[in-house]
Amino acid sequence: MENFFELLWQPFRDFWAGLVGFIPNFLAMLIIIAAGFFVAWVVKAVLSKAFSALSFDAWCDRAGLTAMARKANVWSKPSDIMLKVVYWFLAVVFAMIGLTALRLQAIDSLTMQFFTYLPRAFSALLILIIGYVITGFVSRAVLIAAVNAGYRYAKLLAEAVRMLLIVLILAMALEQLQVAPGIVVAAFSIIFGGIVISLAIAFGAGGIEAARKVIEKSSEEKKESDRDIEHL
């Protein structure tokens, strides 16, 4: 009978022992998360002052980043968007660190995955930002060059170049994020290859006459030069 009662109590004792062992971990998690929010708040306040001093919003306006956000129907100030991103990034990082304090295997492996994925996300973001700047620069250069050359469809050409570069950059960013990399690379190869082949066919078929003239002209020039009298 005594054994039976022991059998009944044992799970409760185990549970209590587990709970007593878990509470410090849980408290540690809460403290780390709270500290994370505090650090995020401090960083946000400091960054807010820095953005204001550096006229970050005006810089974004001039760089065209604000217009890009507006096209995506985001109407907050660029500095506010940035501050929110930094705040929640820090909060999430601290939350992940806090979760490891629970010492649960499933959460530990999730946290590990999160931290190993961070550099990739950061690289993808950099690719997008630098790519956007380069895209703007190249399409503008194409537009100016085409307009100066008197090309009638200059704007269309510049837009086409811009779209092509955006596709390239998006593919690079997605590849970096390892989002269905096989599909991304295949899709990109098909689209990019398709465009290049279309252009090649269009120019090739349309340019047969022009190419023949160029070749004929160069061969005639060669014959002419063969007939030249060489003076000793």
């Binding site: 006229s55 919003d57 005006a58 306006d61 001039r62 065209g64 604000t66 217009a67 890009m68 507006r70 096209k71 129907n73 109407w75 100030k77």
Partner: protein, 402 residues
């Protein structure tokens, strides 16, 4: 108007014979295929509660040559904006409403502001300027016509006559201003009759022959709020946000284009809209504020043209103006008597006295700070400071109208 007199340097297009609206509209439909047109309507929400706008919308519903209407709505809440949209939905072609008090447009203003440019205070000038920005961002039309939304006597013939000279490539003008008389049982338009014309002529006496003064004097109704222009003009024009708007627009047209490409057109036999009180003792409201702002604008343009102003100049100007204004009153009294109109000489004399005060106040403002200009920067200037601003504006308007 019964005469066919051509004023000094700009072209005047009169109402002669019995012009047929159907012919004008038929031709406009053809011309606007090559030169599509936008009608800009600056309006306050309070105007949607009045009767005039109902008549305007009824008339605009019948117009077939306007590609789109851009209504720049001021002082409206989000609910009022929705009601205005519903109201305008009766028009069978594209209508875009700019919600000046909406969060997106406010953010556009904030963006302009933080880049060291200022779009001015809320008012007709800023509303019209923003609407021009949207028209250029949308890039669908080549011609912009503008009129107010408080015209009680509106007919679509006004619009047809106003835009015809700019839309018709054979006439080839870049800017066309409407003119009309404002008569009920008496003559209205005190600021034009008793301030602007005598002031310009008094200035001509002191300064001598000056191209800008001759240009301004050529307009029969320089304060008319109805005009039509090519879109390029909206790109380079800097317009005042205060009551100097109409004169400021004329000064920019004068600065950027030859007067040979400017005209005025008789758009209506009679024109009726709301009347302003004189407010002679308070220079911050009513016709007094309008008079101060207009005088300031004229003085500032002349200063920019190289005219040197001084205390003594303005003393002579006030005396010269007063004499000319009194002479003008005599002429209008005779005109009113002949036509059987009421003419309150005392009220007119009080208005002239108030306008003298307005000229004095404007002169003091100019002498204290000649660089204090209430001009909204041109879209060319704004776009060079913030390259994506027009895209941003377009996104804001399109999203508000979705």
């Amino acid at each position: 108007m019964s005469d066919f007199y051509q004023t000094d340097i700009i072209t005047t297009l009169h109402r002669l014979g019995t012009p047929r609206l159907e012919r004008l509209e038929y031709e406009l439909e053809g011309f606007t295929k090559q030169r599509p047109m936008t009608l800009v309507l600056p309006a306050l929400y309070t105007e949607f509660q009045a009767d005039a706008i109902k008549g305007i919308i009824e008339e605009l519903k019948k117009v077939r040559y306007v590609k789109e209407i851009v209504l720049s709505l001021g002082r409206a809440s989000d609910d009022e904006f929705d009601r205005a949209r519903e109201f305008m939905s009766a028009i069978p072609y594209d209508v875009k409403i700019l919600h000046n008090e909406g969060k997106r447009i406010k953010e556009v203003y904030a963006t302009i502001d933080r880049n060291g440019l200022w779009a001015g205070e809320d008012g007709k000038g800023r509303s019209a300027w923003l609407a021009y920005g949207y028209v250029m961002a949308a890039a669908r039309t080549d011609v912009i016509a503008l009129h107010d939304c408080d015209i009680v006597s509106y007919s679509r013939e006004m619009l047809a006559r106003l835009c015809y000279p700019v839309v018709n490539p054979n006439i080839d003008v870049v800017f066309c201003k409407g003119f009309y008389s404002r008569v009920t049982d008496r003559m209205h338009g005190r600021v034009t009759r008793l301030l602007i014309t005598p002031l310009i002529r008094a200035l001509q006496k002191l300064v001598g022959g000056h191209d800008f003064l001759a240009f301004l004097d050529s307009f029969r109704y320089p304060l008319a709020g109805e005009f039509c222009m090519i879109t390029d003009l909206a790109w380079v024009n800097r317009i005042p946000w205060d009551w100097g708007l109409e004169v400021g627009v004329l000064s920019e047209v004068f600065r950027n284009y030859s007067p040979r490409r400017v005209c005025q057109v008789d758009i209506s036999d009679n024109y009726e809209h709301k009347h302003q009180s004189l407010s002679a003792d308070d220079a911050s409201k009513g016709l007094m504020r309008m008079s101060v702002d207009i005088s300031k604008t004229i003085f500032r343009v002349l200063a920019a043209e190289g005219v040197v102003f001084s205390e003594n100049f303005f003393k002579s100007l006030e005396v010269g103006y007063l004499r000319l204004a009194e002479d003008t009153m005599v002429k209008y009294e005779a005109d009113a008597t002949l036509n059987g109109l009421v003419y309150d000489r005392h009220e007119e004399a009080k208005a002239v006295e108030a306008f003298v005060k307005a000229i004095y106040k404007a002169s003091q403002v100019l002498l204290e700070n000649p660089l204090n200009t209430p001009l909204i920067p041109s879209w060319k200037r704004v776009s060079s400071a913030i390259p994506g601003v027009l895209d941003m504006l377009r996104a804001a308007v399109d999203e508000d109208n979705r």
